[in-house]
């Protein structure tokens, strides 16, 4: 039997003033509990925190700035992990064909991956959410036009559009972000629209109309905050996808420029040396990428399960 409504945890704290902070809703407590419960989450969250910390302090941390061409020494190229450099520090993970310290390159590469992931998702969320919101609120012809645009865009595979765009725009982190956003925003628009269509039928929206509030206010102050849930869950999962996409594009040679390698580019350039035994040029960036995606995916998956309305 389903727990009767009046016995649900949301209704058990009905009498008396709130004794817990207002942000500590029963729903939030339930979500945190769900997140904490799964063993893999703790590990992933810790790993993610570590990665983020490392990435943020990379410049102070890395033994070498891999983007500074003057600091590289071609003679140090393709050294195995553990070798000593001429300046005295150790190449803990070896060097690539251009004499770049792998460890430093990976740290900086992670930074690029996260930058692309987060900024692409942030932009796509903002654009997509606004479009979805307007479509749901306005209805009628506007809704039809916007949704047909969304359908049209979703018909293209992201990577195809990205390849074409990057061929036109050239290489660079910002251009990769644009290429990803151009297709991805449509997903968010759809999600936001379907949620907003349900929410807009609710009586508090009618009350807002009855009080003569302008449309923009109702959309942004009333509708948007209550429709963010599914969009945010989708966004967290998409961070990992964006990172993989960037790595793929760089691997294919259209992403970041060769002087500022991302993980994908490092993997690509190291490919040719795999069979001759210099495994570290491809493998370590590959492992770093896998670790990053894994931790993000696990946390995102748990978050999605916790935010599932059936659990509340």
């Amino acid at each position: 039997m389903q727990t009767p409504e009046h016995l649900s945890s949301a209704n058990l704290s009905l009498t008396g003033p709130p004794t817990t902070p207002l942000t500590d809703t029963p729903r939030r407590r339930a979500i945190l509990k769900q997140l904490r419960s799964h063993p893999s989450v703790k590990g992933s969250v810790i790993a993610l925190m570590l990665l983020l910390a490392v990435v943020l302090i990379a410049p102070f941390f890395a033994p070498q700035n891999p983007y500074d061409l003057a600091a590289l020494d071609l003679l140090d190229g393709r050294l195995p992990p553990g070798s000593a450099s001429l300046e005295g520090f150790r190449y803990w993970l070896g060097t690539d064909s251009q004499g770049r310290d792998m460890l430093s390159a990976i740290l900086y590469g992670l930074r690029i991956s996260l930058t692309v992931g987060l900024s692409a998702v942030a932009l796509a969320t903002i654009i997509g959410s606004l479009v979805g919101l307007v479509a749901a609120y306005a209805g009628g012809l506007i809704d039809t036009l916007l949704m047909r645009l969304v359908d049209f865009i979703l018909g293209f595979p992201t990577i195809l559009v990205a390849l074409v765009l990057l061929a036109m725009l050239g290489r660079g982190v910002d251009k990769v972000v644009i290429a990803i956003v151009v297709v991805q925003w449509a997903h968010y628009a759809r999600i936001m629209r379907s949620r907003a269509l349900q929410e807009r039928r609710k009586e508090y929206i009618e009350a807002a109309l009855n009080l003569g509030f302008p449309a923009w206010r109702i959309m942004l102050r009333h509708l948007l905050p209550n429709c963010l849930g599914p969009v945010m869950v989708f966004a967290t999962i998409q961070v990992a996808n964006a990172i993989v996409l960037e790595a793929t594009l760089s691997f294919l040679g259209v992403g970041v420029p060769i002087t500022e390698p991302s993980l994908g580019l490092l993997i690509a350039t190291g490919f040719q040396y795999l069979l001759s035994g210099d495994y570290w040029i491809s493998m370590f960036p590959g492992l770093a990428l896998v670790l990053l995606i894994l931790t993000i995916n696990v946390v995102a998956d748990r978050l999605r399960a916790a935010l599932d309305p059936r659990n509340s």
Binding site: P18, T25, L211
Partner: protein, 336 residues
């Protein structure tokens, strides 16, 4: 009734139909000649009403009768398909922007579901204060005092101003809904089943609140409910609605004491009465028809124990059967 003060709300032959738009495939079928499924909901089917300032008009009916839709048309949340809506004597469709805002704020609605009628992410002081800020109805410094006053008026302590809706009970949320409506100093409240979702003992508290507020603010109510007991208690006049039409309208005493229309009589007979014991039920037959396919003639004829041939063919009009007592029934013609 003096003719100098116009009724605060007047409806003249108002119709509200909801038409479901056909998609391409259905339109293609229609071109080929296949008859489409009924797509029009006849929610409000020719209603004329005049509500005088200061009175409480109870609007009673069962599901599908269109009372909620009618309430929303009065409040301006739905635009009528046909007919005229007048606010204080002036047609709403022809008001300029300033007058239109005065009408929008002047006719406020109290909703049925206390949970869905409040924004779950706004604290009470934001819910109550927003309209004052947006329309600059009070200087910013006065707003907190106005909020406290509104909370006190509906029986909530001032410390509730920082609470979120989920931290309130159903009855408390409904009070906030009422307070929110009162913040803009309306003249008219459309109350759409405001106590239906509340427990019996809380209903009494909220009904008393409605009565107190009416006396204090001189408000006019359109009180929509399916609960005849509540309507009888609070209303001056009662209108009975069936499938989009008003079938009877009279003073409360006349409706309950001298009901004319067979539907009204059936409704009153069916209301559970704690005074009766071990009753033998003799209910009226038939289902409530769907507003998609209203029966011909008098829409009540399939269920009416006194139906005649005329009832199937001709739609009865509202006629005076007594002073200020109107009923739409062909039976009134058979009595010489």
């Amino acid at each position: 009734m003096s003719d100098s003060t116009p009724p605060i709300i007047e409806l003249r032959n108002v119709h509200k139909r909801f038409v479901k738009k056909q998609d391409l495939i259905q339109r293609a079928f229609q071109l080929v000649g296949k008859t489409p499924e009924p797509r029009t909901v006849y929610a409000v089917n020719g209603v004329s009403l005049a509500i005088q300032p200061g009175e409480v008009l109870g609007l009673v009916g069962e599901s599908g009768c269109g009372k909620s839709t009618l309430g929303r048309v009065v409040a301006g949340l739905h635009r009528q398909t046909e007919g005229e809506l007048l606010y204080q004597g002036a047609a709403v469709a022809q008001l300029d922007r300033k007058e239109k805002l005065a009408y929008t704020l002047g006719v406020q609605m109290v909703f049925q579901d206390p949970q869905a009628s409040l924004n779950p992410r706004q604290q009470l002081h934001q819910i109550l204060g927003e309209a004052l800020h947006v329309h600059r109805l009070a200087p910013a410094d006065d707003v907190p005092a106005r909020i406290d006053q509104a909370l006190a008026e509906v029986g909530l302590a001032a410390e509730y101003r920082v609470r979120l809706p989920h931290q309130l009970s159903g009855g408390q949320r409904q009070r906030v809904g009422i307070a929110r409506a009162l913040m803009v100093s309306p003249k008219f409240l459309v109350c759409d089943e405001p106590v239906a979702a509340l427990d019996v003992s809380i209903q009494a508290q909220v009904i008393n609140l409605f009565m107190d507020l009416r006396a204090q603010h001189g408000l006019t109510y359109l009180f929509i409910s399916h609960d005849l007991g509540v309507v009888r208690h609070i209303s001056d006049r009662v209108a009975i609605m069936y499938l989009g039409k008003i079938v009877e309208i009279a003073s409360t005493a006349d409706i309950f004491g001298r009901a004319n229309h067979p539907y009204t009589q059936a409704l009153i007979a069916e209301v559970p009465n704690p005074e009766r014991r071990k009753r033998v039920f003799v209910p009226i037959s038939g289902e409530i028809p769907s507003p998609l396919t209203p029966p011909s003639g008098c829409t009540f004829h399939p269920r009416c124990p006194h139906a005649m041939a005329r009832c199937r063919e001709e739609v009865p009009q509202l006629e005076a059967v007594a002073p200020d007592h109107w009923s739409a029934c062909h039976l009134n013609h058979t009595v010489a």
